[in-house]
């Protein structure tokens, strides 16, 4: 008896959790509004895909929690888990048809039930929900038993297809702009969703590429390793040039809207790299980081805006002042919080961020900073007649800033200073005993971070042409911290990936903006559970958190980071 119970346990438990989650997703209206967008035209919609992914995910988790043995138990639990989840939806449909839930739950509409039952009425509809749930479970079980490589290939090729479908509005115009290649776009996409042949070919293409890489990738890597130093360098240099060409051509390939998204991502990369020095390297949790962004913006505004009418410097003349004042305030904030650690530091810096925002908003400083109306007519940057006005032009300004900041971050990381920061993060007392001056080292971290942030703020002011206090809300600080954590603490590529994921993606999916925070929150929780080291972690953190998954337990693992 107990044996049977424990056998079913994981499936039922996971299924219940998943069922509740799916109910929430359905009842907040996500499924219905996603239903308007087809992934594959006339075949499957985004709403359905969302539910299917949920079902499969729950089944897979149920199987994984049961254990990794070869017996039937995990598979059985996968089916149970997904079926229970399906049961929740079936229950919703039954209850919804008997009682009018709409008085309380606005989104529990007949449309939703029709969508869930694929349009079937009565008992048939209920059976269809349960059947689909079970089907998800079977698929999850199959995934679970497949070898790791096959599983990866299947998941990646299917998800690429889904991503292509979700981002169709962005991909289509980009491809269509390429003359002869435009035919591909016609063939892949319809007005709403992928074509059937298009989606199948994407899946096959990605699967083939993945498999080929999995089978031959090791050979290619070792082949590269065997090359002489000279030709390795040649490959590196040509790769570098290709990257440079792509980065330079990017705004023209992507068009106006995507370039605008890129500039926003770029500003967050600048901010993220600055905070990465304070939080990622030096381990000081700073929640008032947006203050320096505000200082950079407002210094630029005061020095350049004719509307405020104090100075009328150009952007380039104002920029050094903005950065220097940012650094100055970085040090100024640093001094009172020198002795604080961890959560105390977080609260103190949070206060500082709010002080700056409220000062800017105050009537007291209104004659100088413009109060709630902000300040406008901030001139665009220009180099020898070339003006940075459109997003496609400003992109280059931000790219230059990002390259500079990445370069400085890289240099600092492997240096005496970077090591001092990391030592301080690991153990402050011991770091001090090794001759590290805590005051100077901490202030330098604050100053460097603040300088990057002020640079970002100055570009932001010039990009927008105006500054308003509400642009510098505390939520910006939280967002920057989140993108560092999601990207991977202390990792420079991690910051870039994190900014693209947390700032770029929501911009791209603006039509679903009402669910933005819900998805954002769910994604953060999922990240912390499934991949706490971040999307692109520093090598050492990856080793630390996933050490037990590797085969060589007990053996110390090499780090390529030096």
């Amino acid at each position: 008896m107990t044996q049977t119970r424990s056998l079913w346990e994981h499936g039922v438990k996971t299924g219940i959790i998943g069922g509740v989650a799916v109910l929430v997703i359905a009842l907040v209206g996500m499924v219905e509004s996603f239903h308007r967008r087809d992934i594959i035209a006339e075949v499957i919609t985004m709403g359905q895909v969302l539910l299917l992914i949920g079902g499969v995910f729950i089944g897979y988790i149920a199987a994984k929690r049961t254990g990794s043995d070869e017996s039937l138990a995990p598979g059985l639990n996968a089916v149970i888990g997904s079926s229970v989840t399906g049961g929740f939806l079936a229950f919703l449909v039954i209850v919804g048809r008997l009682i009018n839930l709409r008085a309380v739950l606005v989104n529990a509409s007949p449309m939703l039930y029709k969508l869930l039952t694929l349009g079937h009425k009565g008992v048939a509809g209920i059976f269809i929900i349960l059947l689909i749930g079970m089907g998800c479970g079977v698929f999850a079980a199959a995934l679970f038993y497949l070898p790791r490589l096959t599983r990866r290939v299947i998941i990646l090729s299917l998800s690429s297809m889904i991503i292509a479908g979700v981002l169709q509005d962005l991909i289509r115009p980009v491809i269509a702009a390429w003359g002869p290649v435009a035919v591909v776009s016609e063939w892949l996409f319809t007005g709403n969703g992928l074509t059937v042949s298009g989606s199948i070919s994407i899946v096959i293409l990605i699967a083939v590429v993945m498999t080929a890489w999995a089978l031959k990738g090791q050979d290619i890597k070792s082949g590269y390793g065997n090359l002489s130093g000279g030709s390795q360098r040649g490959i590196k240099i040509s790769a570098f040039f290709m990257l440079a060409v792509v980065l330079l051509a990017l705004p023209h390939i992507l068009g106006l809207f995507l370039s605008e998204v890129l500039t926003i991502v770029g500003l967050y990369v600048l901010l993220g790299l600055g905070l990465n020095i304070v939080v990622g390297y030096a381990g000081m949790l700073d929640l008032g980081y947006v203050a320096f962004f505000a200082i950079g913006s407002y210094v630029t505004a005061v020095l350049t805006s004719p509307e405020l009418g104090f100075f009328s410097l150009t952007f380039w003349q104002a920029l050094p002042f903005a950065v220097v004042l940012g650094i100055f305030f970085g040090v100024l904030l640093g001094i009172p919080v020198l002795k604080m650690r961890g959560d105390y530091l977080a609260i103190a810096t949070l206060g500082f961020g709010e002080i700056i925002r409220i000062l800017v908003l105050s009537d007291f400083l209104r004659p100088w900073l413009g109060g709630a109306q902000g300040a406008g007519k901030i001139p665009k940057a220009a180099i020898m007649g070339y003006q940075f006005i459109t997003p496609q032009q400003i992109y280059y300004l931000i790219l230059a800033g990002c390259i500079l900041v990445v370069f400085i971050s890289l240099r600092l990381k492997g240096s005496r200073l970077g090591r001092a920061w990391m030592a301080m993060r690991e153990d402050e007392d011991v770091a001090q005993a090794m001759g590290i001056n805590l005051v100077a080292t901490k202030l330098l971290a604050f100053a460097t971070g603040a300088g990057f942030s002020a640079l970002s703020g100055a570009i932001f002011a010039s990009k927008l042409g105006s500054v308003y206090p509400h642009s510098f809300n505390v939520i910006i600080s939280i967002n920057i911290l989140c993108l560092i954590i999601v990207g991977g603490m202390g990792s420079i590529p991690g910051v870039i990936v994190g900014a693209a994921a947390l700032v770029g993606l929501p911009e791209l999916l603006r039509e679903f903006a009402e669910y933005r925070l819900l998805v954002y929150g769910a994604a953060l929780v999922a990240m912390m559970i499934l991949r706490p080291e971040g999307l692109w972690p520093e090598v050492r953190h990856k080793m630390e958190l996933h050490a037990e998954e590797e085969n060589n337990i007990g053996e110390p693992e090499p780090s390529t980071a030096t």
Binding site: R411, R416, R419, A420, V430, M434, R540, P556, E557, A561
Partner: protein, 260 residues
């Protein structure tokens, strides 16, 4: 021989508790000097006072004619004192080599601009530091393990690595806090040889806090015994072994008489 470190009347209190009670001690240059005593006798507190973690309320501590009281730990290491810790305190998420490079921190000078501009001076300094780190790794028999995270090493290697990090500061005086804690007899013997080697080859003065009597009696020239923050005896290992006060402190009142 001259004294490298002199403590006169050093007193450290925590509230009402007197952790170190007017201690007078002289450490001879180039000696191995052990401090022993029951748990809570104030041994580690002495280390913390010497290295600047705590500020002694009274007394004078002189090292090489510099007064140490009131100096911060990061200044004291520049004078030539470095230490290890009772419970190993490596930087766990830094590699072995990075740990040693942090130990070298006080001998590197490159600043923010030098680093960002990658001046030739900085490059040269960094290259020399890496070479020295490799030499130190070789010295503790851990060549080729520089790129592993410190926390992944077995216990004995972590102990050695911590000593290497302390040595990287090129100290004249090295404070070792229970370097053989938790070691088996053969590891202990290796550590004893290593400590003697440090003194003989590098000419470093060593103060040792130790519980294993075999180590204390085997390698130290002078032993100071503490009990409740007070020095109760000092002398060569032979003298200490026979001292009735010491036996009493360790085994309880009346034990000395019984043994006799």
């Amino acid at each position: 021989m001259a004294a490298i470190l002199t403590a006169n009347n050093m007193t450290k209190r925590f509230g009402g508790l007197v952790a170190v009670d007017s201690l007078n001690v002289e450490i001879e240059e180039n000696s191995i000097h052990s401090i022993i005593g029951p748990n809570g006798a104030g041994k580690t507190t002495i280390f913390n006072c010497i290295t600047g973690f705590y500020k002694a309320e009274e007394g004078v501590v002189l090292f090489d004619n510099h007064s140490l009281l009131g100096l911060l730990p990061d200044r004291i290491v520049y004078l030539g004192i470095s230490r290890t810790y009772q419970n190993i305190r490596l930087f766990p998420n830094l590699t072995a080599k990075e740990n040693i490079l942090v130990g070298l921190h006080c001998h590197l000078k490159s600043g923010f601009l030098g680093i960002v501009l990658n001046l030739s001076k900085t490059q040269k300094e960094e290259k020399e530091a890496e070479e020295e780190a490799d030499r130190l790794l070789a010295f503790i028999n851990m060549s080729g393990k520089g790129d592993f995270l410190a926390k992944n090493f077995p216990y004995g290697e972590q102990r050695r690595l911590e000593i290497a990090r302390a040595l990287a500061a090129r100290p004249k005086l090295l404070l070792l806090d229970e370097p053989t804690a938790g070691m088996n007899p053969s590891e202990t013997q290796a550590m004893m040889d290593f400590i003697q080697h440090l003194r003989d080859e590098l000419g470093i003065t060593i103060i040792l806090i130790e519980h294993q009597m075999r180590v204390v009696m085997g390698i130290s020239e002078i032993v100071t015994v503490l009990d409740y923050g007070k020095k109760i005896a000092e002398g060569t290992p032979g003298e200490i072994q026979k001292n009735p006060d010491v036996i009493e402190a360790y085994l309880g009142r009346g034990s000395a008489a019984e043994i006799r």
